[in-house]
């Protein structure tokens, strides 16, 4: 038993040491293409579309649009694009001029989640 304890001691020590440096963000699918682009200014878009670096889980991935003050700007809910598991879109019926914030959440097929936001301005 003592021999077993002595054998495992260095492994337990190294494992504990490694656990102290676990990064807090463990997420995998990153946005690759965002329409409208971050920090862009242009005509009001009819939809927001984000394409991620890998396939995402539609049930756990979403896009929400708010005003710069944080009020919801779109009653619609985002949806996946049929045949393209990497893209989700949010339809926008009409958007008055102003600056808006796009909040996105994605869960990649390997189960890891990432979230973020960016702004664009509609003329």
């Amino acid at each position: 038993m003592d021999q077993l304890k002595a054998t495992f001691r260095p492994v337990v020590f190294l494992f504990s040491l490694m656990l102290t440096v676990v990064p807090s963000a463990l997420a995998h699918a990153h946005p690759k293409t965002m329409v409208p682009a971050p920090d862009s200014t242009g005509p009001a878009p009819s939809k927001i579309s984000i394409t991620f670096s890998e396939a995402v889980e539609p049930k756990f991935s979403s896009i929400k649009l708010t005003t710069i003050e944080g009020k919801p700007a779109d009653p619609e809910t985002s949806a996946p694009v049929p045949g393209d598991p990497t893209t989700i879109t949010l339809a926008i019926p009409s958007l008055p001029a102003g600056t808006y914030v796009v909040h996105w959440v994605d869960v990649s097929v390997d189960g890891h989640r990432l979230q973020g936001s960016y702004q664009f301005t509609a003329r």
Partner: protein, 297 residues
Amino acid sequence: MLTLFPTMRICADALCDIAYTALAGALLNRLWLGRVSICDRPLRISLIACSAILLVDLPLQFLLLSASMIGDTSWRDAWGAVLDVGATHSGRAVIMGYCFVPCLLLFSFLPTSLKRTKSVLIGIALEVGFIACRALHGHAASNGDFTLREGIQFLHLSAIATWGGGILVAGLITIPYLASIAELGDIVQFGKRLSETVTIALAVVIPSGIYNSWEGLGGSLSPLPNSAWGRMLLLKLSFVLIALGHGVRVRFLLSTQDPWTQSRTSIMQKWVRAEALFILLVLVCSAWLANLPPADI
């Protein structure tokens, strides 16, 4: 509480990797022992223990997966999302893998009167099924199912289970047990069988590992020192090389023509145990890599 979820995910993944690898190792050790039945009891206990660990660990992994998908808010929220998680790709892979676990547990209680080779092959078939489900879960699944990447991942996990599991169980259970009660000839025969199988497994581990690493690095070596994934890969690689170094020493020891002595048994026991410990660290690094964003994104 929130910061505990990522750490718990790595621990649960590492525990699962160690358990199914050791399970494969216990099966192979039974096969390599041939007609030597003196080690049946500890190997059977290992099989039962590993299956029992998987039986508890996989539901925990599923709950932690649920927590990950909803943003690590709370256990209650994670529990509330389990049905939706069951419909996702990763959720299904965990559930499918879990189906093999009770079968493995039942298998470990099979009477030893059953013909040894046949019974071990049943166990290996169950283990292969479990590994196939494991290959569907993780970075390899990001390009879709039944892809080359998933196929290579399956080969990699199977070969790691053969190499790692074989050495882990041999170094920590079988060889110490044999050294205390078996004849020297039995130990040498066991060592040679172990060495031959491990050499074949390594011929798969190395190329499939290089392929997986290249995919994870996005086809470039520059992220190796500049990303968390790359640095963890370097750490894993260094543990693999140290383990391999010990394996090469054992192979040379077994290949010398001098008569086998008790002192050589002690040296072999020491080196295989050291290799087993580094394999444990390799498995922990693998679980860690599975929870880090790969460098290609």
